[in-house]
């Protein structure tokens, strides 16, 4: 399929500007439209659900500016920010995954591998468990500082891993190994904090550790939006470099790509997106791994497409949140549990496909 498309490209109209080029692909546009539609419907269903159910047409009416004041309050102040956080976080994670998978040339590479999640988790659990113990400052830290702590924890860990893995350039394998070493330490700290914590604090920490959208408001929407607005264009601009990296470092150098700098910049974008996303909603499992792969299967091509990954990741997370809130009666589960339960069979599907390819 991918090969066929490549052969057809020369006959297609191309848009060119300043060394960037874009090929008009009808399939991409159609799939993208379907993806956006799924995302909007998922969000409408998610917003409609709750103790005070609102029908999907009413939800859409409120979003267009109509509806009565009660509905407007529930939707615009309570449920919309939660759904938006889910969509943005899912999208950011998926783009981060698409970038890391392209750089590592490995469909299993996701931001968790570079240790981000563990650093963010350790910092967040630290604040949840010990935050109350430092008086006023602690109380403030525990409330407003949790996402900030997670963000700083994730970024510091990423910097540490990158620095420790640097020896005349960063080799992918060494990066992963160093990440594993640091992750083990950070997770041990998390386990220790969970043991010394009061049981209800431990439960709170556990909810965060599984990736949750519960009680997310506009203050959670803002940071992820800003990160996406800043980093997404950078990701698109750098995306044409990814194509050259696909063929290996030497080929990319031969094509005039400054390999180390390009890779560092792209990693930086991925780390930024993933850590802001993790800070907002906790480490939501498997979105960064699965969404880029689904996006690639939907539109074809040699590597995970960034724009499509964004839409798939957002739709996936929002729909998983609907399931997490509805499937278990009165109990609302963290969305990350649902994405993990959905993601595991996907890995098994990869496995089965691997078996078929080995046979062929």
């Amino acid at each position: 399929m991918a090969v066929l498309e490549k052969q057809r490209v020369p006959g297609r109209p191309a848009l060119r500007a300043r060394g960037m080029s874009l090929v008009w692909r009808p399939r991409y546009v159609v799939v993208l439209a379907i993806g956006v539609a799924a995302l909007v419907l998922g969000m409408a269903a998610n917003i409609g659900r709750g103790e005070y159910p609102i029908s999907i047409p009413d939800v859409l009416a409120v979003l267009m500016g109509g509806g009565d004041s009660g509905q407007r309050f529930i939707i615009l102040d309570l449920r919309l920010p939660r759904s938006l956080t889910g969509a943005l976080v899912g999208g950011a994670l998926a783009v981060a995954g698409a970038i890391t998978q392209s750089i590592a040339r490995n469909p299993l590479a996701s931001p968790d591998m570079i240790g981000l999640t563990a650093g963010a988790s350790a910092a967040a659990v630290f604040v949840i468990v010990l935050g109350g113990g430092f008086g006023l400052v602690g109380g403030f830290l525990a409330a407003a500082g949790l996402p900030m702590a997670a963000l700083v924890g994730g970024l510091v860990t990423a910097a540490l891993i990158y620095g420790l893995a640097w020896r005349r350039g960063v080799h992918g394998f060494r990066l992963v190994l160093v990440g594993i070493g640091l992750q083990a330490m950070l997770l041990a700290i998390v386990h220790w904090l969970l043991v010394v914590a009061e049981v209800f604090e431990a439960a709170r920490a556990y909810v965060w550790l599984n990736g949750s959208l519960n009680a997310r408001g506009w203050e959670h929407v803002l940071p992820v939006s800003v990160a996406l607005v800043v980093l997404l264009p950078a990701a698109f601009l750098l995306a044409h470099v990814l194509g050259a990296l696909q063929y290996g470092d030497d080929t990319a150098r031969g094509l005039g790509v400054p390999v180390n700098r390009a890779r560092s910049l792209l990693l930086l974008v991925a780390v930024g997106l993933a850590s802001v996303a993790t800070a907002s909603a906790g480490p939501i499992a498997f979105v960064a791994l699965v969404a880029p792969q689904i996006a690639q299967r939907l539109v074809g091509g040699a590597r995970p497409p960034i724009g499509m990954s964004l839409v798939v990741g957002a739709a996936l997370t929002v729909i998983a949140d609907v399931v997490a809130r509805t499937a278990f009666g009165a109990t609302e589960l963290p969305v990350g549990i649902v994405t993990a339960v959905l993601g595991a069979p996907y890995l098994l599907y990869l496995l089965a496909r691997y078996g078929r390819e080995a046979r062929a």
Partner: protein
């Protein structure tokens, strides 16, 4: 049986290096055992240790040593050796230098069954957890092995790793779901989830010892076949080894070893991951040396970490699983930076 992996000219030197390495490991292990018996809430002098072990009177220090310290030390040796050996086996079978026994789903399987035991059956003590944990480890690794075998070539390194990751993620999510629904289960589970040697001594070691022994025998016996397998599946087949039988033996051994250790002490990471890398630096890739040396090194490492955990936060103690990660992490990073890892 020839040694396919040993380079011919260096055999004499290599052999000396291997023997020296084994001797050093044995010495470290003995020292760690003595320290493990001597160090604790009540420090016992060395002559007291000797006295209590070899000519006990049943009074004073002797009771502490014989009823608490010696069983705890013994459990540490058994679990450490099992994890080291299992780590070397799984790295060989998956040809993945990052593999540890947890990759087969052992840890998450055990955790899920322990949580079910607490939540559905009201099990509250460590002796009760053992069988749930052991059953969970067995079920998970059998599932991983079966799922990893669906391709034509039977279980291959890649399919095993993928199946392990998938099953582990699924079980971890299910474990979280149960824990989040019931706070009391979380309260009991979080103490099991940190690997520790404390309070799980005599009976627990007794409960799993035969499984450990069987796993060790099967694992060590598979060394020559594993050597052949490390040359590639096709070479192994042409040398007359059955790849499928060797892999099955390996998985059975890993499951028994890691499952028993996890059942007895809770999930302990790092021993299985790090030990084979350290040991490989003096044994080379020959599994007939690598496997026993990994068992020795695993036992020594676990005991040393346990002793450190008893010393650093007196009068309390830090669980051995946490100590291992906190000292093992930096050491591992240093190892990665220092030089090229010996390839598998």
């Amino acid at each position: 049986m020839t040694t396919p992996a040993a380079p011919a000219p260096a055999v004499g030197g290599l052999r000396r290096r291997r023997l020296a390495g084994l001797a050093l490991l044995a010495a470290v292990l003995v020292a760690a055992c003595v320290a493990s018996i001597a160090v604790g809430a009540k420090a016992i002098p060395l002559d007291g240790v000797w006295h209590a072990v070899f000519t006990p009177t049943g009074l004073g220090d002797d009771i502490v040593v014989r009823s608490l310290r010696v069983p705890r030390t013994l459990l540490g040796v058994l679990a450490g050796a099992a994890l080291g050996l299992a780590g070397a086996l799984i790295q060989g079978h998956t040809r993945n230098p990052l593999a540890d026994p947890g990759l087969l789903g052992v840890n998450n399987g055990a955790a899920f069954f322990v949580v079910i035991g607490i939540y559905a059956f009201g099990v509250t003590n460590l002796y009760g957890y053992v069988w749930f944990a052991f059953a969970g480890a067995l079920v998970a690794s059998v599932a991983v092995f079966v799922l990893g075998s669906v391709g034509r070539g039977g279980p291959t390194p890649v399919t095993l790793a993928l199946a392990g990751a998938a099953v582990s993620a699924l079980l971890a999510a299910l474990t979280s779901a149960v824990i989040l629904v019931d706070v009391q289960t979380l309260d009991a589970y979080r103490f099991w989830a940190v690997g520790s040697l404390a309070g799980r001594e005599v009976e627990i070691a007794g409960q799993v010892q035969w499984f450990l022994l069987a796993g060790a025998v099967i694992g060590l016996a598979s060394a020559p076949a594993l050597n052949a397998l490390s040359l590639g599946d096709d070479v192994a087949r042409s040398l007359g080894h059955s790849v499928r039988r060797t892999r099955t033996m390996g998985i059975v051994a890993i499951t028994l070893l890691a499952g028993s250790a996890t059942a007895a002490c809770g999930p302990i990471a790092f021993v299985g991951l790090v030990v084979p890398h350290i040991v490989r630096s003096f044994t080379g890739p020959d599994y007939r040396w690598l496997l026993p040396a990994s068992a020795l090194a695993g036992a020594a490492l676990l005991l040393v970490a346990d002793v450190i955990g008893r010393v650093v936060v007196r009068p309390g103690e830090l669980q051995v699983g946490i100590v291992l990660a906190l000292i093992g992490g930096p050491f591992f990073v240093w190892l990665v930076r220092r030089r090229k890892m010996v390839a598998i």
